[in-house]
């Protein structure tokens, strides 16, 4: 953790976004995580992504569960409401929050324990509901706050700090999300901001359920030799399938990839995702293929990263339950109350 707080004054040279805000306006409280923690890099990526998207900070709902990862919403967007809920139950809280107000952006941060163990049920069902949110898994394969036990995402054979290997099969959050029907599934690495930031931007703009599984090494309990979630291991075994560039609506497309090597997808709000293929055979719109690739690379001890799957037909929970465009919480109670005349008519029907 950094002990010296940065003064909250903006350097005059700092760039401003469309709202006239600087990147400092997207920061939060001081991180209390260990120095070098992967999660702090993700926090920085979130700050940068929100800044670049010119999101009004207070129009974001920061959602989390319990664990190191779930503390991080305290470290970004201090003018947004945060909901640090109970262990593994962030998805249900986000469901209720989103049902009440569909007009704010839900940015959720969870960990591998919070998602793949205690919260696997809620993780599965929030995907089925196609909740419009970005769900970031800060995945380090272990429980940090309770001193390094394996989590359900630890690979078979990966060793803990004492050298004991994990015996149980891992749950892969990306493969799991694909099977549950997620519309946007990506994987990244906390050490690769260049890859991560465009994915966060695209995930925030995607209408429907978007998940990014970010391998985020735990420097204290899971960064040693023999761990498959260490900085060194992931750097050596990462295979990037594509490079994403996210272009918000009405901005000029500046990237120029040779024909045939890139695809472009326009999202519901008019923004564009331009995808440069690193693996020519990888089609991110093919769910089955994505699942196959994830497992194939896993077999070869490779960590596949990039935009793994995208369903361009965006649909969310509100489409299924047919709510009006006006957020439910904006209806006044007197407007929602049928009144006495209606009640008298009901009385009559009960006689």
């Amino acid at each position: 953790m950094s002990y010296i707080p940065k003064p909250k004054v903006s350097h005059p040279g700092l760039g401003k976004n469309k709202l006239g805000l600087t990147v400092r306006d997207y920061e939060g409280g001081l991180s209390t995580l260990c120095a070098g923690c992967g999660h702090d890099s993700i926090t920085a990526g979130i700050i940068q992504a929100c800044f670049e998207l010119s999101i009004e900070p207070h129009k974001v709902g920061k959602m989390s569960g319990i664990g190191c990862s779930s503390k991080t919403p305290g470290y970004f967007l201090s003018s947004a409401h945060g909901f640090n809920s109970v262990h593994g139950r962030m998805p249900s809280v986000t469901t209720g929050a989103n049902a009440a107000n569909k007009d704010i952006t839900y940015l959720a941060v969870s960990g591998d324990g919070d998602t793949a163990s205690i919260g696997i049920g809620q993780f599965a069902h929030v995907i089925r509901r196609k909740l419009n949110m970005l769900y970031i898994v800060e995945n380090n394969g272990c429980y940090g706050l309770t001193k390094g036990q394996f989590s359900a995402t630890a690979d078979v054979g990966s060793k803990n700090k004492k050298g004991v290997p994990n015996e149980m099969d891992p749950i892969d959050p990306a493969a799991f999300a694909l099977q549950m029907g997620a519309g946007f599934v990506a994987r990244s690495f906390s050490g690769d901001k260049k890859q991560l930031i465009p994915l966060i931007k695209a995930g925030l703009n995607y209408k429907g359920f978007a998940m990014i599984d970010v391998i985020s090494p735990c420097v204290t309990f899971n960064n040693h030799e023999g761990s498959t979630k260490s900085y060194e291991y992931v750097r050596e075994h990462e295979t990037e399938v594509n490079v994403l560039d996210f272009v918000p609506k009405r901005e000029e497309i500046s990237v120029d990839y040779p024909k045939g090597q890139s695809t472009s997808v326009t999202l519901h709000d008019g923004s564009q995702m331009i995808l440069k293929k690193l693996d020519q055979n990888y089609d991110p719109e093919d769910r089955l293929e994505a699942l196959k690739q994830i497992q194939m690379h896993q077999k070869r001890n490779e960590v596949i990263t990039g935009l793994l799957f995208l369903d361009p037909k965006e649909r969310d929970m509100h489409d299924m339950i047919a709510t009006p465009s006006k957020p439910l919480r904006d209806y006044s109670l007197s407007e929602l109350c049928p009144g006495n005349e209606a009640l008298q008519a009901l009385n009559k029907s009960w006689r």
Binding site: S92, V93, G96, R329, C337, N340
Partner: protein
């Protein structure tokens, strides 16, 4: 032979097999008594099963106005061979047994002191109705016809009820009318009609209505302006959500089909509770309906709501526990669970409706209280109240009523204030702090956390700051008791009475009857019906003023008594308890006997 002779005072019981369509036929008979101006108390006693198990429906008709469960039966329609012996045994001496005489009665099923009325129901159905599926349904209508003859009810009432019930299926009218006539005429031809028990038209129900508690709760949530319901199917609470859905559909749909509500069926009750909190945090009124097992699962979130101070409305339709228990039988055994649900120090506001009308009113009140005190409010109904029809005064709504959202700083307030907003700062010194909704204004932002926090909403592990905040939360409950919670209903027959009786909810109706019977016997007592928890000073006073206080519980362990002792620091020796917890509605006769034993012991 002895024959029960009675006009408008009797219990009729229907013994059926569940899944055979008997409910609507039996309900029709109940409705006919009501249409004739008589107070009724129907009770549905049903199994946790879809088809094939015994189910009973009984209706108490009482022109003197006692509609609690009386016990035994004066006339029984025994349609279930499985329970025949048991149903014969439960008849009062001189009672009437209506049975399907297509098959011969066994000697062992005969009793010398009851009147057997055989109607060849299956035979008539077979001879007159060719369609096998509807034949079973029409059998029920045949016995309705016979009962109408035996009780001297005009068939016209049933013709109208059939037309109402099958308003969209006029094809069914003819066959139902015929079934009715077959049963009616057979009884008239072969038996003395009326049989001894008679229904005579009165004008005792005025503008009253027939409604069940769950329907009233669900409707109350619509009137309260709730827009989000997170829920998981669980008997006997499911029909609260169904009612909410029905009335939202009726009142909250826009012309283009858009729905001004979100009813989300969760994967479990934990998730349902999370949805309630997420929506309430975000400014919607939200709720869940569940029963004991659901409260167990929701407990972690209930404690979270208590500590982070998020309004949370729950309807607990209590059933018979522990564990799965007897899920379709009634009990009030979640009192302690709900009062202190969750780990750590926590305590919740409870409301105890005792009637359908109170279900409606407390449903609305629960939302106001939850918003005003930013805490969970649990409405403690039970299966008996929730799933049975009651004769009730009509529901009322005052159009000038203002819903209370409590202390919320809106955009304008945040824009214009000079003071910095802190989520847990007790500005008004009543324990209740100000909150803001997400997305309204940057200066309204705060971080909701279940971890230790100080009055500024900041994370803390400082014991003094933690404690200061916990003390302040306690204060809210004092304010609630002083200013907002419904006070108990007292029935002081004589201020010098030495014995006082305390109860809640559905026990009240049979208690009212029992204490009136006891009064006639010279055992005059005072009563107190509790409507809310935490208890106010009136409750303490009532207990202190009597030498003996008898607390009536619908659970084994006298939970209400425990709560009184605990919350009011009462001497446990002051309180005695009577517990009725076999899963059936409390009977007045049980209360008369058990109260008499205790009152006589008190030597008054």
């Amino acid at each position: 032979m002895n024959k029960i002779e009675s006009v408008n005072e009797f219990v009729i019981r229907f013994a059926n097999i569940n899944g055979t369509g008997s409910a609507s036929a039996n309900g029709m008979l109940a409705k006919s008594f009501f249409k004739l101006g008589l107070p009724i108390g129907p009770k549905n006693i049903f199994p946790s099963n879809i088809q094939g198990l015994p189910t009973w429906y009984e209706v108490r008709v009482s022109e003197s106005g006692y509609t609690g469960r009386r016990g035994n039966s004066d006339i029984t329609i025994a349609m279930n061979p499985q329970t025949f012996k048991q149903d014969v045994a439960a008849l009062r001496e001189g009672g009437y047994l209506v049975y399907d005489s297509t098959r011969l009665l066994r000697e062992s099923d005969k009793r010398q002191d009851v009147n057997y009325i055989g109607i060849p129901i299956s035979e008539m159905a077979r001879d007159n109705f060719s369609h096998a599926k509807s034949r079973d349904m029409l059998k029920n209508i045949i016995y309705v016809g016979s009962v109408a003859a035996l009780l001297d009810i005009d068939l016209d009432i049933f013709h109208q009820l059939i037309k109402d019930q099958f308003a969209t299926k006029p094809k069914l009218h003819e066959s139902n009318f015929l079934a009715l006539k077959l049963g009616y005429e057979h009884a008239k031809e072969h038996y003395l009609c009326p049989c001894g028990i008679k229904v005579a038209k009165r004008d005792l129900v005025g503008s009253n209505i027939i409604l069940n508690g769950n329907e009233a709760l669900g409707l109350g949530a619509v009137y309260a302006g709730a827009t989000v319901a997170g829920w998981y199917p669980l008997t006997p609470s499911t029909s609260v959500i169904e009612a909410f859905n029905k009335y939202c559909h009726k009142f909250r749909e826009e012309e283009n089909g858009d729905q001004q509500y979100a009813i989300i069926q969760a994967e479990d009750e934990i998730s349902a509770a999370g949805m309630v909190l997420g929506a309430a945090w975000n400014g919607s009124r939200s709720f869940s309906a569940t029963s004991g097992p659901g409260i167990s699962l929701m407990s972690e979130f209930i404690g979270y709501a208590y500590y982070t101070e998020i309004p949370m409305v729950l309807f607990n339709i209590q059933r018979c526990g522990p564990s799965t228990g007897m899920p379709t039988r009634t009990q009030q055994s979640d009192l302690l669970l709900c009062t202190y649900a969750s780990h750590g120090d926590s305590k919740h506001i409870l409301l105890f409706p005792s009637s359908v009308k109170e279900c409606f009113e407390f449903s609305v009140l629960a939302f106001d209280l939850a918003d005003r005190y930013q805490t969970p409010v649990i409405v403690m109904s039970d299966l008996e109240l929730g799933m049975n029809d009651y004769v009730s005064e009509p529901l009322e709504w005052d159009d000038s009523y203002q819903h209370d959202r409590g202390k919320v700083l809106d955009q304008n307030a945040l824009e214009t204030t000079n003071e910095k907003f802190y989520r847990y700062l007790d500005v008004d010194n009543d324990g209740v702090t100000y909150r803001t909704y997400p997305g309204v204004h940057p200066s309204g932002a705060y971080f909701t956390r279940g971890s230790g926090h100080d009055k500024f909403g900041r994370y803390t592990e400082d014991g003094a700051l933690y404690q200061e905040n916990m003390e302040r939360i306690s204060k809210k409950f004092q304010t609630a008791v002083e200013k907002s919670l419904p006070k108990p209903k007292l029935n002081i027959r004589d201020a010098n009475n030495k014995v006082g009786i305390v109860t809640i909810g559905t026990t009240y109706e049979p208690l009212r009857e029992a204490t009136e019977i006891l009064s006639k016997r010279g055992m005059i007592v005072n009563e107190m019906l509790l409507l809310s928890f935490p208890f106010g000073p009136e409750v303490w006073e009532f207990c202190q003023k009597h030498d003996k206080v008898i607390v009536i519980d619908q659970n084994r362990d006298a939970q209400l008594k425990t709560l009184l002792v605990n919350d009011l620091q009462l001497d446990p020796n002051l309180l005695e308890s009577i517990c009725s917890y076999d899963g059936n509605p409390v009977m007045a006769s049980f209360l008369v006997d058990s109260l008499a034993a205790k009152i006589e012991g008190a030597k008054i």
